[in-house]
Symmetry: C2
Subunit: 194 residues, 2 copies
Amino acid sequence: MQALKDKIMQEGKVLPGSVLKVDAFLNHQIDPVLMKEIGETFAKKFANQGINKIVTIESSGIAPAVMTGLNMGVPVIFARKSKSLTLKDHLYSTSVYSYTKQTTSEISVSKDFLGKDDVVLLLDDFLANGQALYGLIDIVNQAGAKLAGAGIVIEKGFQDGGKKLRQQGIRIESLATIASLQDGKITFSESGAN
Amino acid sequence: MQALKDKIMQEGKVLPGSVLKVDAFLNHQIDPVLMKEIGETFAKKFANQGINKIVTIESSGIAPAVMTGLNMGVPVIFARKSKSLTLKDHLYSTSVYSYTKQTTSEISVSKDFLGKDDVVLLLDDFLANGQALYGLIDIVNQAGAKLAGAGIVIEKGFQDGGKKLRQQGIRIESLATIASLQDGKITFSESGAN
C-alpha cells in the first residue's frame, strides 16, 4: 500500500535493535485518514470470505481494525491485556510473550462475543515474531470459530513470524513488509501484493 | 444522540455498584457504524473551534476518537497507560486514580505531538468522577496547549465529575447522560442536547 509506505518513509524512525517507531501515525498519534485507507484496503483483500467478526488486541490494533470493520460492515472485538486475570470466568484467555518488553501478558476475549459460528479476520498493527497472532489464533480456536486470515499493517519480513504462520496455511496480508532496517535505513520487500 | 441511547437500552447491562457494562458495542466489542455516527456528532458539536488535535486515553477512547478525527480532519493522540514510567524523558505524564479498579496509573503523551500551538479536543468513552479527564487536562496544560472542550460518549450524570468540570468553565458535550442506574433500570437525563 503506497500511501502507507510513503508515510513510513516520511515519519518512521529506526531505533537500535531493529525497532521501527511509527508513533507519529499509528502507535501513539494516529492519522485517521490513513487508517480509513487501510480499512478500505483490508476490506477489499478479505472480501467474500464470509467474515463476520474482526478480532484485534488493544491498543494499537484498534484504529485500523475499526476502520476495516466499518468497511466490511462487521463488529470488532479487541482482546484485553492484563498482567493477571482475576476473573477468568466466561473468557477465552491465553498468554502472549512480548520480545520487545520481555514480559508475558494474558489476553482475553469474552465468550459473549465469539463462538463456533463466527468467521474471523485477525487484525494487528505489527507482525514480527508472531507471538500476538499466535495468541489470537489460540483464542479463535478456543471459540471453535473459523479463521479467515490476518491483516497486518506493517510486517517485519526479516523476522520469521510471518513465514512460520504462512507455512501453517494461514493467510496473512501485510500492507507494508520491511525487508531490512540495517544501518537505520528502511527497505521494503517487493514481494507479494505490498 | 438517539442511536446511542437506543443501543445502551438494548445492549447495556447494569451491574452492582452503579456499573453500566457496554462491552457489546464500546468497551470490548465495538460497533463501527455507531462509532462513525458518534464521530460525526462530535465533529458537528465542536466545529469552528480551531481544534487541530484530539487527545484520548487507551483503549476504549480510541475508536470514537479516531472516527471524530476522521470527520474533523485532525490527528488523534492516545495517552498511554503504564503502571510505572521508566522513561519519563520527553513525555508529559500525570497520575490518574481509577475508582473502579482502585489503582493509580501513570498516563503519558510524547512531547513530539503536543505543544503550545495546539487546540485540543479531549475525547473519552465514559465520564463519572472525572479522574481521567483531570489527567488529560493536566497533560494539555503541561503542553501549554489550548483546551477547546471534551466529548464524552456516556456520562454518569449521578456522579459529580461532569458538574465539577463544567463549574471550572470546561465545555463538556456528552452524547448520552445517565440520570440513574437504580434497581438495574437505565434512566437518561433529558437535560441539554442529549
